[in-house]
Structure formats: C-alpha cells, structure tokens
Symmetry: C2
Subunit: 423 residues, 2 copies
C-alpha cells in the first residue's frame, strides 16, 4: 500500500472556503495518483486555539491543564469533521479520526505531551476500505484515555509520526510559503527556495530561527527516516523543499541556509575570580529555574580575573538577571550586566564538516560590513554569531552573499528521494 | 456510596459567568451534603449546537451525518472542560469525562442515537477518588468508537441513564423554570408548580406539549425507576417538581396537568366507501413516508359513506395532503381537506383511571365556553381534544379551572421519595 501523509496548518483551513480549497487540492491529487492512499492531518482553524485559551482564561485564572487540553482539542475536532464532510460531498470517501480513534498515545504531560506510540492499525483499516483518513493533529490520549495536546508544532509531529507508523512514502507539510528558503525572504531579497535539505540541517535551521517547520517534527522525521516535503497550500505547484536523509543528497553544499533569532538576551558577569567553580554553581541555579543557557564566552583578563557572557531566552532574562545579582556577592564578582539588543545569526550546512575556512570567510564577510562579533559558537554543521540587533539584517545579507549567492544553485536532483512525480 | 446526578442545560451554561454560577451552586450543595458523590452532566452553551450545524451547512450542502456528530460533540466538550476547571479553581476536585471516557455506548444512528449501555466503572472510579465527575451530555460512542449524538433531549437522557447505571438516589434536571407547572403559566396565570408527578404522567405531559422535560428521558427514568427532580438553576430554592414512581405517590389526583400542542394539522377524507380497507392502504403509505398519525375520528354518514379525520405533525402535513390527493381517485372518496388552525389540549392524571365522569366534566367545561370539540382521544391517564386554535388558551384555562383549581393542592409529601433534605 503506497501511502502519503499530507498536513495542513491553521492558515490553510482558516475558514470553510479554505477547507473546501484543501478538499479540492486533495481531490486533484487523488485523481492524478489513484493508487496512493491518503492520510490527511489538520490543525485547528487559524486563531481558534487562542480563542479557546482566552475563553478558559476568561472563566478561571489558572485553568487546570488537563481540562485545558480537553478544551483546545475541540479545535482540531471541528476541522477534521468539516474537511471529511467536504471530501465526501466532492465524491471522495473519507472519515475523520480523533486521537483516540487513530490510537495516538502520549505521555501525560498536558499541553506539551510527547507521542509514545501509534497503533497504525485503525488508520490503515480506514485506508484499506478505500477512504481518506482525516486525522486530528496536535492531540493525543494517554494510556488512561485522557485527552492531551502536543504543544507547539504539534500537528506537524502528528503527521510525521503517522507517516513513520504507516511507513508512508513521504509527509507533505502544506503551509503558506512555497518551502524553506536559504534565508528569510523579507530580510534577504536574494533568498532562494531550497530544493533539498537534510534532516540534520533542517533541525539546526529550525532551532536557529527558521519558522516554517518546528524542530520537534524534524527530529521525529530524522529519527524515523521520513522524507518531508514543505510546500504552499495556495500555490502547490509553485515549488517545494524536500527534507531527506543526508546520505540521499548528491551534493552537500557548505552552507544551506542563513537564519537568525532575536529572542535571546546576553548576560555578562564582570571580573570573576575562580570562574570554573563559580560558574558551576550559577549554571546549576539557572537550570533549577528551567532557564536554558545557549552560547557562552569567557574572556581572561590580564590581572587573573575573568568575564563571562552567556545568552538566555529573552523572556527569562529578567529572572536570570535577578538570580545573578543575588549571587554576585558570594562569587566575589564586580557586577552583572544585561544586553537585550542582540541577534544571533547562523549559517547551517552539512558540507561544513568537510570544509575548512568557513569561520574565516564568515568573519571576513561581517568585517567588510563593520559588524562587530560579540560571541561565536559552532557545531559540526553550523556556525552562529551574536551581533548587535541593529546589524541583524545586514549580517544575514552579508552571510547569504558570502556563502550562498557565491555558490552554484543545487540543480542535480538526488534520485532516491523522488518519491512521487505529480503534485 | 450515595450518588446524585445533576444536569444543567444550555441556558444554565450559556456563558462563562453562568458556568461559574453552576460551579458555585455545586459547591454550596457539596458543602451542605459532604457525603454525597456528585455526577454533573452538561449540555453545550445555549446556541452553540445550532452555530456548529450552521457552520457545517455553510461548508457543504448535505453534511455526512457521521461527521456532523463529530462536529457538534465539540459543544459539550467545551462546557465540561470549562465547568471542571471552574470547580477545580473553587477548590473542588473535578474531572471532565467525554462519552468515550464515561463509556456511554450507543447504536450507530448518527444524530439520533440510542444509548445501549453504560459501563459505570469509569465514572464510579472518578467518584471514588473524591472527584466530581463532569460528564458531557448528548454524546455517545458506538461499539467501534465512532462519535454519536443522542438527538433532542439528549443531555437529559445522558443524565438519567447515568443515574440508572450508577444507581443514583435521584437525577436533578436544572433548567430555567422552577419545575413542572399544572399548565403553561404564560397561558394560565393560575397554574401552580407540581410538587410530585408520576413518571407515567410526566411522559404523557411531555408527549402532549409540556416542554420542560423531553419524553425520551422520562421514559428512561420510568423504565429504571430513577426519581427525577426538575428545578431552576437561577432559583434553586424556589421550588421543584419530583418525578417518581406512581406507587410512591400518596395521593393520586384525577388530573395533574393540562397541556397543549399547536404543531399538528388535521386532514379529512370526505365521503369514503369501504373505509377500513381504504384506510389500511392510506395509513401504510403514510407510514412508508415516516409520517406518524396521532388522533383519528371516523364519522358514519347516513348514506353508508364515512368521513375520516386524523392529525399529523404540521411540518409533514403538506406531504401527507399530497399523498391523500393522489389516492383519492382510487379510494373513490369525494375529496380531501386540511385544517391547520387547530390545537390539541390534554388533561393528564394517574387518578383518571380510577374515576369516572372525567370526559363529561371536560365537555361541560368546554361547552360553558362555547368551544366546539372537533376530535377526542383517550388513554388510561389522559384525555385529549382537538379544538380550533383560537380557543386554545381559553380551553387550557377552562380545563385548568375545572380539574385543578377546584381540587385541593397536594400538600402531603410522600415519604419514600424524600431522598435529600437540603438543596
């Protein structure tokens, strides 16, 4: 049984007109690919989840999370019903499935549950009966039958997990853009659509600011080797990005994409003695408060003191600053400062691990624009720098020019990823 | 375990303010009755079900019924979540249960499903953990896990069925009136609240026009001997009607209540020969079209011909008229006529079976008001007449005066039905 999973986000099903548009798109696909079995995963109508959360908060101050999940799960239930009835009206046999019916089992972490298992038998049974399975995204049930939801990016995760469980050929993620771009096109007019990208690169790109896919779903796809396709609901023939296993890529560009984030803040502890011991206790304290630390740099000063800077999510930076200020006397440091006007700009590419001189080229490109690099961090397939936020856009364009516009566009199509010819 | 089931309709939970009001009412009850375990059944917020049905119809012309049920079931899912979180916020442990979780199994007649079984174990487990069980009314699941809904009066049925399955002491139906009145108070200012009524009477009253309870739920309560209490959410101390087994009533008034319906039409076939045979074929034809016939009268004419009148639901009267007109030539009748401006007025009471002269008193009362009786029908505990619709109000008042205002109000309280002292 050749199976394709297609997922449509909230913007794609924002009203009944758009739901019918999705039904027409599926009908066209099914007519062109009569032998392919379709599993469709949908989100709630755009804005619906927030509306339900507001309703809860207008009712009680601190809604119990178990009940919040019961409430917000209705969002997807509405869309699966409407999409299934639209398909049926167009002559395509279809059947909606809620998480309970699709047997998507999660842990009991309400509002941020993790999928533990999918018993694909019930979805497969629907497909075998010649029906399109329309599955509610974002939701699950725990082993006692409680309703759970998967948190941000949840519907993508549902789609990828179903694709893995059903051994589907690919998981198509329909969104409002044509695919993943080499940089944010709003910042960088020369950004171009990526045709292929490896799971590993996509995971870094998502973590480092690319918004089109959520990192958790990419991680899931990487773990289970599910090819993902990102494309536009409103212009499905307008291009697509394939996210595939690295070994299936014929060419491995040094840099695949440039991303940025502006939601970090930089904290600095000035003139610290016995840095290692002191940092151990500070970082433990931050971890206790669930504040994750991203980049760290340490500057040795001439007189034996050290200054240490690190970034934390901006939303938690005030709390982190408070904790550091409390700790300063005990640490014997001179003081603490915070800088919020920063941006983290990153270059990602699997080819980086086989090439030297990437950091040099990056510094040259930024220096040519007089951009001061405040911090730097690297992994095998990425290099990130912290720069003043006002230079974010210039930095993205400079790196895009240095690494991507200078390179030839990848045109050779890796044969093994070509699952399906006709969109 | 002493269990009480309380059900709140759509008006009682129409917005978050009213949902919190219900939570406060339950808190007060629980404080006064700390040993009673509470099961709460709620409907969708008033208007929500119709809004969802309109949404479906704005999407497709003829929504598939399976998917309609998936859609409208979200209405109750929203209210159980909001009520459960309101109770928790007020310090009362609570847990919402959907039909799947409460194991309410129905047949597969979407939009009008019948409850086949309730496995009370999961609701009982919630109660044993010291939590209030907040159960979604109106919905069920079939034996394959498909979502179903119970049709009109569905939440009342859920409540009564749960009370039966849990062997609850009583099922309280909270609505927007203080209970069941001896006649519609808008028509009959002297109508008074019934304190006690038997299931059998209540079933007739519901069938014959009393709107406060739906006949199907009363039938369920009668079958399983569940005492029902009807009272107002907005004035819970303002009175209540107990619906109990007939043998528990100390006094059995001849007439308990007067009801009316104005949603029937009267069809007449004029000058028919061989009436029996002809009527057999006509009524079969109507039954095929799912048109139910209520009252029938046959008038023998002097020349051996017969005229036959019967009532049908007004919404189906045009279809019925068409069928009769087609049949007239074959029947050899003179013609067919329809009268829509009629009302059916009924007197109901378990004591009627032990008293003679009820019909005589009824005719006298109507004659005193110069009201012509067009049709009459009786059963052991009711007597119904069809009158011109313009006399409906006068007839209700006349019968109320003749049968109820003349009788002493029932004040003795049957001991065995006093389940609980403090509302």
């Amino acid at each position: 049984m050749k199976i394709i999973v297609k997922k449509f986000g909230g913007t794609s099903v924002a009203d009944v007109g758009r739901i019918r548009n999705v039904a027409r798109l599926l009908k066209r696909f099914q007519e062109r690919n009569p032998d392919t079995k379709l599993v469709v995963v949908v989100s709630a109508m755009a804005g619906e989840t927030n509306k339900l959360l507001s309703l809860a908060r207008s009712c009680v101050e601190n809604p119990a999370v178990r009940e919040l999940d019961v409430l917000v799960a209705t969002g997807e239930q509405v869309t699966v019903a409407l999409l299934a009835m639209s398909l049926i009206e167009m002559g395509l046999p279809a059947r909606s499935l809620l998480a309970q019916q699709a047997r998507i089992t999660t842990d009991r972490q309400y509002m941020n549950a993790k999928i533990e298992s999918i018993n694909a038998a019930s979805v497969a049974a629907v497909l075998e009966q010649g029906q399109i399975a329309v599955v509610a995204g974002f939701q699950g049930v725990d082993d006692e039958g409680n309703v759970t939801t998967l948190g941000r990016g949840g519907s993508d995760i549902t789609a990828v997990a179903l694709a893995a469980a059903l051994k589907a050929e690919a998981c198509y993620i329909y969104t409002d853009v044509e695919g993943v771009f080499t940089a944010d096109p709003r910042l960088c007019p020369k950004a171009r659509l990526m045709k292929y990208v490896s799971h590993e690169e996509m995971l870094e790109l998502a973590n480092l600011g690319a918004k089109v896919l959520h990192a958790r779903s990419v991680y899931f796809a990487m773990m289970y080797g599910v090819p993902m396709v990102v494309l536009s609901t409103f212009n499905p023939e307008g291009g697509a990005t394939w996210v595939v296993e690295e070994e299936k890529l014929v060419e491995k560009p040094v840099v695949t994409g440039i991303t940025y984030r502006t939601d970090d803040a930089k904290l600095t502890i000035h003139r610290l003695r016995h840095a290692s011991k002191a940092l151990g206790s500070i970082f433990s304290r931050l971890a206790e408060e669930n504040i994750s630390i991203d980049m760290i740099t340490q500057t040795g000063l001439e007189d034996g003191y050290t200054s240490v800077s690190f970034t934390v999510p901006d939303e938690k930076s005030s709390r982190a600053l408070g904790l550091l200020q409390e700790a300063v006397p005990a640490l014997g440091a001179e003081g603490v400062s915070i800088e919020r006007d920063i941006a983290k700009v990153s270059a990602v590419g699997v080819g980086m691990q086989y090439h030297t001189g990437v950091a040099a080229r990056l510094f040259e490109a930024l220096a040519a624009e007089q951009i001061e690099v405040q911090m730097i961090g690297t992994s095998e397939i990425k290099i990130s720098v912290v720069v003043p936020r006002k230079y974010c856009e210039v930095a993205v364009r400079a790196l895009h020019k240095a690494f991507i516009e200078m390179s030839p566009e990848l045109v050779a199509e890796p044969e093994r990823v070509r699952v399906e010819a006709r969109q």
